[in-house]
């Protein structure tokens, strides 16, 4: 019956492990059959703070990767940056804690039916969903290169297993503490043309997504980006998470990044209008 949030369910998940990795926490949760419906790009919305919490809204986190065959049934990995009180609470939870989650939510990265040359670009914890995506792309015989960037080395998330699923991995940090000094956009056009990139998949801060879009605007490269807007509900009912996006008629609509995103076509997002209101067309 439902057309929106199809296959999303609300379940109690158990934390299987919670490890600090650099500046982040890698949290593995037991979610059972829910994994069957999770695609790279989807996210999960988690209740935070427990029963007597003053935090009434769920927190959104990208699904980093899922495994159907873990010893516990389906499990899902999240990469969480301890930011404010909700994410810090999550990072503080011991193994065995129960979480109230809604998943999977949102759009997924489009997977090509042909083998293509893909470039995956992650900023900070934005790399999280890219490793799961790399696995899927590799399984379709795509060539997968990856660029990761962050302000400092501790904010680069690149697990060993993850590295195995990409053909090349290049790391940039703004302070040069890991990889090259600079940003992922540094030599982007060069990389795109040298490697014959067909599609860029990106996830990270809005500024990075915008910069990538602008750089590749003049090329034929398709840019699928996972956006991050402040979300109250995560399921399309509150209208807080909107972004100005060009629709088929060339008009700008305020689309909900929770159900029409987080994965969007970068070239359609009106980055210069974010935080503003376009004129109404009729």
């Amino acid at each position: 019956m439902a057309t929106i949030n199809k296959s999303a369910t609300q379940i109690n998940a158990t934390i299987l492990s919670n490890k600090r990795v650099g500046s982040y926490h890698q949290i593995l949760i037991n979610v059972g059959d829910v994994v069957k419906n999770c695609r790279p790009g989807n996210f999960v919305a988690i209740s935070v703070g427990g029963d007597s919490s003053k935090m009434i809204l769920r927190r959104a986190f990208a699904i980093s990767r899922v495994s159907e065959n873990s010893q516990y049934g389906g499990s899902m990995e999240l990469i969480v940056a301890p930011h404010g009180s909700g994410s810090k609470w999550l990072c503080s939870l011991p193994e065995g804690s129960e979480l109230d989650i809604v998943a999977p939510l949102g759009t997924a990265f489009g997977i090509p039916t042909e083998p293509i040359n893909a470039l995956l670009i992650g900023g900070g914890y934005g790399s999280a969903p890219l490793f799961g995506l790399a696995d899927v792309l590799k399984a379709r015989n795509c060539k997968v290169d990856m660029l990761l960037g962050a302000s400092v080395g501790a904010k680069i998330y690149a697990p060993l297993e993850g590295k195995r699923s990409v053909n090349s991995l290049k790391i940039y940090t703004e302070d040069g503490s890991m990889g090259e000094k600079g940003r992922v956009t540094e030599s982007l056009l060069e990389i795109v043309s040298n490697r014959g990139i067909d599609v860029i998949y990106s996830c990270g801060p809005m500024g990075m997504l915008r910069a990538i879009t602008e750089l590749v605007a003049a090329t034929d490269v398709i840019h699928q980006c996972a956006v991050e807007e402040s979300m109250a509900c995560g399921i399309g009912i509150c209208m807080t998470c909107v972004l100005p996006v060009e629709n088929e008629d060339g008009q700008v609509a305020m689309l909900r990044s929770c159900i029409d995103g987080p994965v969007m076509d970068g070239s359609k997002v009106k980055w210069d209008l974010v935080g503003q209101i376009p004129e109404v067309q009729q």
Partner: protein, 313 residues
């Protein structure tokens, strides 16, 4: 152990199998929640306030979480009444949901225009008139804050829509004298009252040192405002005991819903709670049924306004 409780309720001449409704603007047009429960299983779907033309709403950020609450400044983004009636209403009726259409306008005329379009639509249960909107003809003063403007909006809608469709006037708590506004809209033809809309608030972003919301001020909702909602429902029920009330404001459990019912609400809308819990309506409805049974009420109706019993005996 306990007898089944008759949860059915009425607002004006509209009948609902359960008093638990969505709140306008907190369920979009229903489709998004259908994955989580069958829309026909709750009392009614109150749709997001629709205006006559499509609207982009306010700039982002549109929300801020606050202690046990949230601020929003959506600015009535929506498709406009024509698209809404063509696409959303038929779908809801197909789901066999009871539909309460919420309308909003910037002029008294716009409300009447909306009412005219609704008049010819069959199958909807009631119209909720959201008068917490800025009146462009009067320095942006919110209709609901002006007894005279409130009355004129409802009067216009009543005259246009005819006598059949129940009108629920939705009021703002941001007024000095709520019973006075309530009495005015009832005199003008409202069959029921919806209480309360959000409370005007603001958050300042400590990093940018500016108002956090794109629209600067926003509406406060969620458990933080529940005591204000209970007071508003109690006050208005005391003043107008015959007028049915659709209560709302921070309800997130069956106990909360029961509190509003005891205060005088004949039905209860669930808004912000659905953001934190997509199945909130079902859980609240079940909990309410259990509480009513545990307290020995055979019907919901017996509990409506029960907290006033001392005054009326």
């Amino acid at each position: 152990m306990s007898l089944p409780v008759d949860l059915s309720t009425t607002l004006g001449n509209a009948w609902f199998p359960s008093p638990i409704f969505t709140a306008s603007g907190c369920a979009s047009s229903g489709k998004e929640l259908a994955q989580f429960f069958a829309l026909k299983d709750v009392g009614a779907i109150v749709t997001k306030s629709v205006m006559s033309k499509p609207r982009h709403g306010r700039p982002t950020p549109r929300m801020a979480e606050t202690p046990s609450g949230m601020l929003n400044s959506i600015g009535l983004q929506g498709p406009g009444i024509d698209s809404f009636l063509a696409n959303d209403v038929p779908w809801l009726l197909e789901q066999k949901a009871r539909v309460v259409v919420s309308i909003a306008g910037e002029t008294i005329e716009e409300y009447s225009t909306l009412a005219r379009k609704l008049r010819s639509v069959s199958g909807i249960s009631a119209v909720e008139v959201n008068i917490s909107c800025p009146n462009v003809e009067n320095r942006g003063l919110v209709f609901a804050c002006d007894p005279d403007a409130s009355r004129r909006v409802i009067d216009g809608v009543r005259k246009t829509i005819g006598g059949e469709l129940p009108i629920i006037a939705k009021l703002s708590p941001d007024v000095t004298n709520l019973p006075e506004i309530a009495r005015g809209v009832v005199d003008a033809g409202a069959d029921a009252l919806a209480l309360i809309n959000t409370v005007l608030g603001m958050v300042i972003n400590v990093d940018t040192m500016k108002p956090h919301l794109g629209g600067k001020t926003g509406g406060l909702s969620g458990p933080a405002i529940k005591p204000i909602a209970v007071r508003a429902v109690y006050q208005v029920h005391a003043a107008l005991p015959e007028v049915p009330i659709l209560g709302m404001g921070g309800v997130s459990s069956g106990r909360d819903a029961f509190e509003l019912i005891l205060a005088g609400a004949s039905a209860v809308s669930i808004g912000t709670a659905s953001f934190g819990n997509p199945t909130a309506l079902i859980r609240i409805q079940n909990e309410l049924r259990d509480i009513l049974a545990a307290k020995g009420f055979a019907t919901l109706q017996q509990a409506v306004g029960f907290a006033h019993r001392e005054e009326t005996q």
